[in-house]
């Protein structure tokens, strides 16, 4: 029971539902007794009902049936508007369109290019978008009502991991040690972004106070290269393709990949409001399947060149193909005259680890964006829908981790999600961002 596409359009009748239940039974029977002759003999000698009832005592047949029926129920809403910011992080959301993953689920999705993250937040909360490409800390902040009006918003899936970088202006070629960065101006795409949190973490690990020793300002990703060229900023920790684009324009060089700060860090997320999921459970399930399939497609190295071609036109990223290819294949010019080969420079993995949410919360608290007592796990488990994602990914036959929490290593330091407060107090540098 890998796919349920055929019946995803329209309302299945009672007959269709019982047909699905029967299919599930057959599938379970087949997997328990893979050899046809044995299965048939058993059914003949004991009777199908007896076999099934004895099976259901060891296998949760009811749950499997419910899941299958749930995910093929009628779509509550077929025409959806989904927002995205034109960066490579949005690859799964975009690729699901040309690959036909949305239409396969019976969805008609219009992808709306959006100028920046504040606008993404407002348009999602204004219900102009049904779901949206977001930065993974944004749903946490919105659910907590930080920097936004409070509105429960979830991370249904992570879009991409790694794939960001620190870019510096070419005039700083000899300032490779962050200790020389005092007084420099950096841009990040948004306060509630992994970019901001990783840049702060990186600076602090090198003894720089990100609030006093350097200046961090918010610049929408597409405007970063223009600002770097104009000299308004000295560098940025920004999303791709704008690091590679700075190299392409010979105005900047790639100082460090975000993969080198935290290999496997989450970046962007597929965000949905609670209300949308409650009102449209089947549409949401269909949407999740489309996104998960597109993410799996984007994860495969051999598809990367094709993806670069597909997302380059004006309708999506509006960027030169060679720039996107370097980002997605990991074979790229660093702006210093070297070609680097880093497979996994950008990668795609939908599983929303709740431990990642806890890490984000510790950093939001560390820099004063979130104040006061915080039940890390409760918030993480509410916002990052790891259990639901696992269930649906298993349905699609994808491999999933068994746990919702894992230890992460960031710049050589281990983060234990069970001990967030201890982790937080282990940093000598922390501060009060005007959150």
């Amino acid at each position: 029971m890998k796919e349920h596409d055929a019946s995803s359009e329209g309302a299945p009748s009672v007959a269709a539902e019982s047909a699905i239940e029967h299919l599930v039974e057959v599938a379970v029977l087949r997997s328990v007794f893979p050899v046809g002759t044995t299965r048939r003999e058993l059914l003949r000698s004991l009777g199908a009902g007896a076999v099934l009832s004895s099976l259901s005592s060891v296998f949760p047949l009811g749950a499997a049936k419910a899941l299958a029926v749930e995910s093929t129920g009628p779509l509550e809403k077929k025409e959806l508007a989904i927002g995205f910011v034109p960066i490579t992080c949005a690859t799964p959301i975009i690729m699901a369109d040309p690959m036909g993953f949305y239409s396969r689920e019976g969805l008609k999705v219009s992808l709306v290019k959006t100028a920046g993250w504040a606008l993404i937040r407002d348009k999602l909360l204004n219900r102009e978008y049904d779901a949206s490409h977001m930065l993974s800390p944004m749903p946490l902040a919105i659910s907590l009502g930080v920097g936004s009006r409070q509105d429960p918003t979830y991370v249904a899936a992570i879009e991409n991991i790694n794939g960001q970088a620190i870019t510096l202006h070419v005039k700083h070629k000899d300032k490779r040690d962050p200790k020389q960065w005092k007084g420099m101006k950096f841009a990040v795409p948004f306060d509630y972004s992994m970019h901001n949190l990783l840049l702060r973490y990186y600076a602090a690990e090198h003894g720089l106070d990100p609030d006093r020793d350097i200046e961090i300002r918010v610049v929408p990703p597409p405007e970063m290269v223009a600002n770097l060229r104009a000299g308004n900023i000295d560098g940025y920790l920004g999303p791709e393709p704008f690091n590679q684009r700075a190299v392409y324009e010979e105005v900047g060089f790639i100082h460090l990949l975000s993969k080198e700060i935290w290999d496997g860090h989450p970046c962007c997320a597929f965000g949905v409001r609670e209300e949308f999921i409650k009102q449209n459970p089947n549409t949401f399930a269909a949407l999740f399947r489309a996104i998960a399939r597109a993410t799996a497609f984007a994860h495969k190295e051999e598809n990367r060149k094709q993806i670069a071609q597909a997302i380059a036109p004006a309708n999506y990223l509006n960027q030169p193909v060679p720039v996107l290819e370097q980002v997605l294949t990991g074979r790229f010019a660093d702006g210093l005259g070297q070609i680097r080969n880093v497979p996994g420079r950008a990668d795609f993995d939908p599983f929303p680890w709740q431990s990642m949410a806890v890490w984000i919360l510790t950093q939001l608290k560390r820099w004063g964006y979130v104040k006061g007592e915080l039940d890390y796990r409760q918030v993480a488990e509410k916002v990052f829908l790891a259990t639901e994602a696992r269930k649906r990914m298993v349905d699609l036959g994808m491999s999933v981790p068994k746990e919702n929490y894992a230890r992460h290593t960031i710049m050589g330091k281990t983060f234990d999600p069970q001990q967030p407060e201890a982790y937080l107090s282990s940093f000598s540098l922390s501060g009060g961002a005007d959150g």
């Binding site: 290019k113 606008l119 102009e128 960027q319 370097q326 010019a333 702006g335 005259g337 070609i339």
Partner: protein, 275 residues
């Protein structure tokens, strides 16, 4: 006299254009720098820099866009004609709303000195606020980005119209009003048949100023909010650092702005009168 100067000024205009374009071409034309180093590396850092475009490149880009003004390649890739239609539509809608508010209110303010003095501080306070500064508030309260940009157009168009209408109505000659009164013309009839025609040139001047501001503001508003429109087009091409597209859009914005201004100019002439 006029017939002799006409062709001469046209010739001077064209000459000026030719000089500017020639100078521009000269400054921006760059010979391809000899390639140095690794060929693969060179390919990766882009053989063609997106520097300042030459007039020829802009002409080429313009032709590309003008050839298919209404092509529709999805939600984020629309022809220049469609984008302009969205922008002009928003401006006209916002402008019409502003007219509905500003002209009646201007009449009231112009006819009542008390109201004039009472409202004046608020008008003076609200007038200098940059229309774009309203945008975050509009997005939060109206909860729709397209309506928000129309609201921003409305709010920036109101003030010149309001002030000019009030001024025009207030400065209608006493004698004319007295003549009307002796003919027992009062109320709405007085307003429509005497005051409105008398104040029309001033009101239209206000509308012309408003339209100019509205057209300036819509481009900025669309750059901020995105979606559709000529401002979005500029923003989108700025992202791609494609300056020839940006210059093309600037020219087009200028042309449309000029046409709108000309339209209001001829309207003003239509209602103007000799005393």
């Amino acid at each position: 006299m006029r017939s002799a100067q006409g062709p001469r000024s046209v010739f001077a205009s064209l000459l000026l254009l030719a000089i500017v374009l020639g100078f521009w071409q000269l400054v921006t034309f760059q010979k391809k720098a000899p390639l140095t180093g690794d060929a693969e590396y060179q390919a990766m850092v882009g053989a063609q820099k997106s520097g300042l475009p030459t007039p020829l490149q802009i002409a080429k880009t313009s032709w590309q866009h003008l050839r298919h003004p209404f092509h529709d390649g999805g939600a984020n890739d629309k022809g220049i004609g469609i984008q302009l239609a969205f922008s002009v539509g928003r401006v006209l809608l916002g402008f019409a709303l502003a007219m509905l508010i500003a002209i009646p209110l201007g009449f009231l303010v112009g006819t009542s000195p008390l109201l004039n003095r009472a409202l004046n501080p608020y008008i003076q306070l609200l007038k200098p606020i940059s229309p774009l500064a309203w945008m975050p508030l509009a997005l939060y309260t109206i909860r729709d980005s397209s309506l928000s940009s129309i609201f921003v157009i409305t709010i920036c168009s109101i003030w010149p119209m309001l002030i000019n209408t009030a001024h025009g109505v207030a400065s209608v000659k006493r004698e004319w009003l007295n003549v009307a009164r002796t003919h027992e013309v009062y109320g709405l009839r007085l307003a429509l048949q005497v005051v409105l025609p008398a104040a029309a040139p001033t009101i239209l001047t206000g509308m012309r100023i408003s339209m100019g501001i509205a057209w300036l503001v819509i481009v900025a508003a669309e750059m901020l909010v995105g979606g559709t429109g000529i401002g979005t087009f500029v923003w989108n091409e700025w992202n791609n650092l494609s300056l020839s597209n940006v210059v093309f859009a600037l020219l087009l914005i200028g042309v449309v702005g000029m046409l709108l201004d000309l339209a209001f100019g001829s309207l003003t002439r239509l209602v103007s009168y000799q005393e």
